[in-house]
């Protein structure tokens, strides 16, 4: 499953960060790396982007970006 499919409240573990170039690097720079735990907090009122907790802080990213992040429950 990818992070875009996880439901609010769910805690997942990152398996792989896909995608390429600037977006992938940015996601990893922000601390979303292999093996780290992520909690999906909520979805924005209009359905996108989503808010997650990673390494103890809040991060928002679009579903299109989250879909590059493979996770498991």
């Amino acid at each position: 499953m990818n992070l875009g499919e996880a439901r609010p409240g769910e805690m997942v573990t990152v398996r792989k960060v896909g995608g390429e170039g600037a977006t992938m690097r940015r996601i990893m720079d922000m601390g979303i790396t292999k093996g780290c735990k992520v909690i999906v907090r909520k979805v924005a009122p209009l359905g996108d982007p989503i808010e997650i907790t990673v390494r103890g802080y809040e991060l928002s990213l679009r579903k299109s970006e989250a879909s590059n992040i493979l996770v498991e429950a």
Binding site: I39, Y57, R62
Partner: protein, 676 residues
């Protein structure tokens, strides 16, 4: 030569507050050469031997964002003597991620462990000596709010610069990666200075395009390096870039696990989380957002701001203007010079400065929203809508302010980090009808559509529509093409805003505008006044015989296809460049009625000579879109940081204006023209 201390850190780490405290009033704001990234510098308080350079807030030293590239270039080529790395203690791992990269540049690093007071309030602890030992960097605990630790920070920094002490410990990566790094090191060690070797080696391993270009490796070496990287990537089944990032975080997790104790378990709610639950709640987020926006708009533009406008108009018109006129006449100054100074320069500058209070109040609230953490949530809430037409969630704020005045609106686009989004926002914001265009609409609606309330409101609709259509179209052009900028954005914890920081922020933005009003606007006002009151032989004449009128006659034919080809209207479009509300005044002057208001019955009747209802609407459309006033063009120039982009914006806006007005007039005449 003073020593240079670079201040580096993540956004929201409190870096700016520390900079303000370190430099006091000596700071000055500029831009990094060639880019729109702000560059702040200042001497250490009471110490001219040390210059502090505030680097952009960044998360990493990747080659992908302008801010990061600027920082890298400065660290490598600017050769600062010391980096003070501001680290948010409440967000340790991600902040130290940057620290490990800073250490690799070989420059000594001093860590300011900031927000220690908040950390303690949360019940968390950090064993600072242990952390300092692990990173190999001295650490000073600070709090910019209570100013704790700042004296120590300065003392240690100065000491480190004098002693030229060595750099911190570099991060250790996994064995296969370290082995590859060692091989690469041997291949490039003659090409770079020894203290930056580690940094260059890692960048080469990451396929960093910019570094590869800079090193200009021979084909043979490049090939050898590619082989080394490929074999590691294959055996580890991951790209080199992500191997480095993963290992870096892994290394940090090891360090923080030993010295950072958290009172709160992952997943439980802090106060900030509880606030956020309401503010970005699925159902409440939008109502709260609109209420906040309306409140800011109401206070800044409508009530308090509007009150100030009256005072400033009185100040410049009745007090300064009238008294200087009297004074100049008393000492026997000739009439034309009095006119130039009073009606030209003072009136022109005054009309621009009337916006200052509104802007200051707006900037105050914007700084407040940014500082307390709400601005990031606005982008979070609005992103979905704005992304559809090539803008980002952060474009909403400028558009909203644009209903008051384009100048602060354009300046508010500063908060948009992505350059492409920012440029597009600057270009499109003037399409939202500003307060100064309303008198023009009121005049023409009064003269031609006295009973249709919707004509004036249709301007807002047309403006918003133009923003959306232009966004979609511009996104397809080369300059704005490409994937949307990543929207991976930190949502900082809410906290009480710091009044001092908010006021400094507000003043930083506001004073630039005042400076412009005193220079560009003053000159432009004087020039237009001379053009409209003198003939080619520089005799003082009535407007219809002036230079401006003959220019108006020259360019009037351009406007004939739009339905308003008389020289009077052409002149009004020119003076409209100074300030949109002068269009009304210009009609008054060229009609020989003097300076009249838009509701004046004689003016309403006389304007009928220039237009029919269709050309009147076409003129309203033209006024709505055409190049904004001089002050807004000045703001555009400042935010674009490029003459080319400024011209592109002006030409685009005027092009849209001309085309839209042409379509309105020609189609309108085809459909309804027979009865006129």
């Amino acid at each position: 030569m003073p020593h240079t201390i670079a201040l580096a850190g993540n956004p929201n780490s409190g870096k700016t507050s520390i900079f303000n405290e370190l430099t006091g009033s000596t700071q000055y704001v500029g831009n990094w050469p060639g880019v729109t990234v702000e560059k702040k510098e200042g001497y250490l308080k009471g110490d001219k031997r040390h210059v502090v350079v505030d680097l952009p807030g960044i998360y990493s030293l990747s080659p992908y964002t302008l801010e990061e590239v600027v920082t890298r270039d400065f660290l490598l080529d600017g050769k600062p003597d010391l980096i003070i790395n501001v680290v948010d203690a409440t967000n340790l791992e991600r902040n130290l991620y940057l620290t490990t990269q800073l250490v690799e540049t070989g420059i000594p690093v001093l860590i300011a462990l900031n927000m220690m007071d908040i950390l303690e309030r949360n019940g968390d602890t950090i064993q600072v000596p242990l952390l300092s030992e692990a990173l190999g960097c001295p650490i000073i605990e600070t709090s910019a709010v209570s100013r704790a630790g700042l004296k120590d920070l300065v003392k240690t920094a100065v000491h480190m610069v004098d002693k030229a002490e060595g750099s911190g410990k570099v991060a250790k990566f996994s064995t296969p990666v370290e082995k590859a790094l060692l091989q690469i090191e041997h291949l490039i060690d003659t090409l770079v200075p020894p203290d930056t070797l580690r940094w260059f080696t890692i960048k080469v391993f990451e396929h960093d395009e910019r570094v590869m270009q800079r090193l200009n490796l021979s084909d043979q070496t490049a090939h050898q390096i590619a082989t080394i990287i490929e074999s590691v990537e294959k055996s580890m089944d991951d790209s080199a870039e992500s191997l480095i990032t993963n290992d870096r975080y892994e290394y940090l997790t090891g360090i923080t696990a030993a010295c950072h104790k958290k009172a709160r378990k992952m997943g439980t709610l802090s106060t900030s989380d509880k606030i956020d639950r309401i503010v970005t709640n699925r159902w409440l987020a939008l109502p709260i957002f609109f209420a906040v926006m309306w409140g800011v708009y109401f206070i800044a533009i409508q009530s308090v701001g509007d009150l100030f406008i009256g005072w400033i108009e009185w100040f410049f018109g009745d007090l300064i203007g009238a008294n200087i006129a009297l004074g100049l006449e008393a000492i026997g100054t000739s009439a034309w010079l009095v006119g130039l100074v009073v009606d030209g320069i003072i009136a022109g500058v005054g009309s621009v400065l009337t916006f200052v209070p509104q802007m200051m109040i707006l900037f105050f609230f914007l700084a407040l929203m940014e500082d307390c953490g709400y601005m990031a949530r606005v982008a979070f809430i609005m992103d979905r809508i704005f992304r559809k037409f090539g803008l980002s969630g952060k474009s909403f704020i400028p558009m909203l302010i644009g209903t008051g005045c384009s100048v602060p609106a354009i300046m508010a686009s500063r908060t948009i980090e992505n350059q492409r989004d920012r440029r597009m926002t600057v270009m499109l914001t003037p399409f939202i009808p500003c307060g100064a265009k309303l008198p023009v609409f009121a005049l023409l609606v009064g003269a031609f559509f006295p009973n249709s309330a919707w004509i004036a409101s249709s301007m807002y609709l047309v403006g918003i529509l133009a923003v959306i259509v232009s966004g979609i179209v511009l996104k397809k052009t080369k300059a704005f093409a490409g994937d949307p900028a990543p929207f991976v954005m930190e949502l900082p914890s809410y906290h009480m805003p710091r009044m001092k920081g908010v006021v400094i922020h507000m003043w930083d933005r506001g004073k630039q505008f005042i400076k412009k009003a005193g220079t560009i606007i003053a000159v432009a006002s004087a020039a237009i006044w001379i053009l409209q009151s003198s003939s080619w032989s520089f005799q003082l004449v009535d407007t219809q015989d002036s230079i401006l009128a003959s220019i108006g006659r020259l360019i009037a034919p351009i406007f004939t296809p739009l339905g308003f080809g008389s020289w009077e209207v052409a002149v009004a479009t020119i003076t409209g460049l100074l300030a949109k509300e002068t269009i009304v005044a210009t009609f008054g002057i060229v009609l020989g009625l003097g300076n009249v208001a838009e509701g004046d019955p004689t003016l309403l009747a006389s304007v009928g000579a220039f237009f029919n209802p269709i050309s009147a609407y076409s003129f309203m459309i033209f006024t709505l879109f055409a190049a904004p006033c001089a002050a807004a063009i000045g703001a555009t120039r400042r935010e674009m940081q490029s003459a080319k982009w400024t011209w592109a914006a002006i030409l685009f806006q005027t092009g849209v204006a001309y085309t839209a007005a042409l379509v309105v007039y020609q189609v309108g005449m085809l459909l309804f023209g027979r009865g006129l």
